[in-house]
Amino acid sequence: MTGFQRTIATLGGLAAAAALVIAFIGSGEAGIALLAASLVLALAGMRHHFSLWPQARVDLVASLGGMALLLSRLDGDMPTASWPLLIACWLFGWLAVEKTMAARNLPKALSSVLSLAVPVFFGAWIIFAWEVLTIGLQIPTVLLPPPSMIAVRFAESTSILWADFQQTVIKAALSGYILGCGSAFMVAILIDRVPFLQRGLLPVGNFVSALPIVGIAPIMVMWFGFDWQSKAAVVVVMTFFPMLVNTVAGLQATQAMERDLLRTYASSYFQLLIKLRLPTAAPFIFNALKINSTLALIGAIVAEFFGTPIVGLGFRISTEVGRMNVDMVWAEIVVAALAGSLSYGLLSLLERQVTFWHPSNRRKTP
């Protein structure tokens, strides 16, 4: 066990001991289950000094048990001892992860499961702490609703959320993204071929990208109407420039020696472009695609604040905020976050497939 793991174990044990002491002083209020849980966790912390059952799963079970107890006792009037217990659970969970990740020569299948399990566990913990804190501390739901409330609202309104998702993500953001990135790519290749355009178009692109979205959105609504087309137009404007500059930079990233090499083969402009320059530009292009995937979503949502039919993520957020239905706002945020993470993840996956050769993606044993 490393010194760091020992520190976490000691702190966890101390937090549990504190819970135990507080539960005793507050007599009766805490209840026997809480007393027992605190005792178990305190002992779990102490066991490290006697090198008993050092396995990570002991820490995990201790942590999960404490969490289950806290969840079962969850209400607005929780005993004070719950809070040090919460901290103890957090520390033991951390310890379990820390020990598992430090373990060497794990079977390959297990380590790939773990690499997925750790972030999931971490996310689950955040949601758990959020739930316990918002309910236990009686935080007004207008400020921050507990995750359970958001989940219930989400489950009850799937048809509305699906319609909003289609309107904003599929119609507005995706079509704008494809149009914006695609046209910027074409223009970049054109610019690269014609120096006159490079002098003239790059500054214009720069200028357009500096326009604030709150200025563009109402204008686009006037040009293209209330429906998703105007939002797609905003997304096109927002995604165009990052793609343009990145592709232009990527096309210029080839080395003189590589260009000379293809010249000695008497290669044509298109052979040079396809066999050398576009592959070299791929890491740049994927950077732009990833940046743009989040930009497109933001653009489509914010643009709906400036006039829209009565459907869409942005529309729903702005109206439900006005009606103090914060749980619905959060449900929409969940949809947007899921869509954003999913598209980013897919692009990253694709990027690793296409630019596997780039030093940042090279596997040690292919």
């Binding site: 590589e258 000695t264 050769w357």
Partner: protein, 264 residues
């Protein structure tokens, strides 16, 4: 007809000049270079940096344009020769494309020149064997050592069977042991294929060991100061470098380099 084409020199330069314009005025990279290289020669260009040896090679390859004089490659202009795929060029660095396997890197010139897939595969296989890289074709360049990468880049230059091989300090970045090994292999390859090789180097032993002729150059302005015919036997084990004849030729090269410098 075949006799005719054999009597044409691989390279003929006649009062060749190349002047770059820089902020400090014109730089004479090459001045009045007269040179004839016959087919089948192994010619080394040696000289201190700035003597124009790389520039001369790039002029032959049509990567630079002379500002005066005349040059012909296989009796054609350098541009015609380049478009005809008359030479393979090996650069100072391997310059292999990281997203292509070694096989596909060697196949790159064949793809560009529009050679059929079956023939590509056959030629790639043959050149891989020629440079001793059989079994590494499926690897990516970044999975090989520096010496192997440079060998792959030589294989790529050989793949399309050009009669002329232009090599610009190909082993400059490699350590002494790998370099000796590759020098030996290059000599064998030259004997096996009968190609004309132009080899730029700044190492006297390397030049003497490899060449049939050594062109000594000097800087400011870049010009040829001496052309030394080597009469070392065709069979050259590595320890020929300790023989009396070898040291005499090396001495003559060294003198030529020194003379060039005293001009400053």
């Amino acid at each position: 007809m075949s006799q005719d084409s054999n009597s044409i020199p691989a390279i003929r330069a006649d009062r060749l000049c190349l002047t770059f314009d820089s902020n400090d005025g014109p730089v004479h990279a090459l001045k009045d270079v007269d040179l004839t290289i016959e087919k089948g020669d192994f010619v080394s260009f040696i000289g201190p940096s700035g003597c124009g040896k790389t520039t001369l090679l790039r002029v032959i390859a049509d990567l630079e344009h002379p500002t005066g004089g005349a040059i012909s490659v296989n009796g054609k202009t350098p541009e015609e020769a380049r478009l005809a795929g008359a030479y393979g060029y090996v650069f100072q660095a391997p310059a292999l494309l990281a997203w292509r396997t070694i096989e596909r890197n060697i196949g790159l010139p064949l793809e560009i020149m529009g050679i059929s897939r079956a023939e590509q595969a056959e030629r790639v296989k043959r050149t891989l064997e020629l440079v001793g890289l059989d079994g590494f074709g499926r690897k990516f360049p970044w999975q090989l050592s520096g010496g192997m990468q440079q060998r792959a880049s030589i294989a790529r230059a050989l793949a399309f069977d050009a009669e002329l091989l232009l090599m610009d300090e190909p082993f400059g970045a490699l350590d002494e042991i790998v370099r000796d090994h590759l020098n030996e292999q290059l000599l064998q390859l030259w004997k096996k294929t009968g190609k004309t090789i132009c080899f730029v180097t700044h190492s006297i032993p390397e030049a003497v060991y490899l060449s049939t002729r050594i062109v000594v150059m000097s800087p400011r302005p870049g010009r040829v100061t001496d052309i030394i015919e080597s009469d070392l036997p065709a069979e050259r084990p590595l320890d020929i470098r300790e023989s009396k004849r070898f040291l005499e030729i090396a001495q003559r090269v060294r003198n030529g380099l020194r003379e060039g410098h005293s001009y400053d």
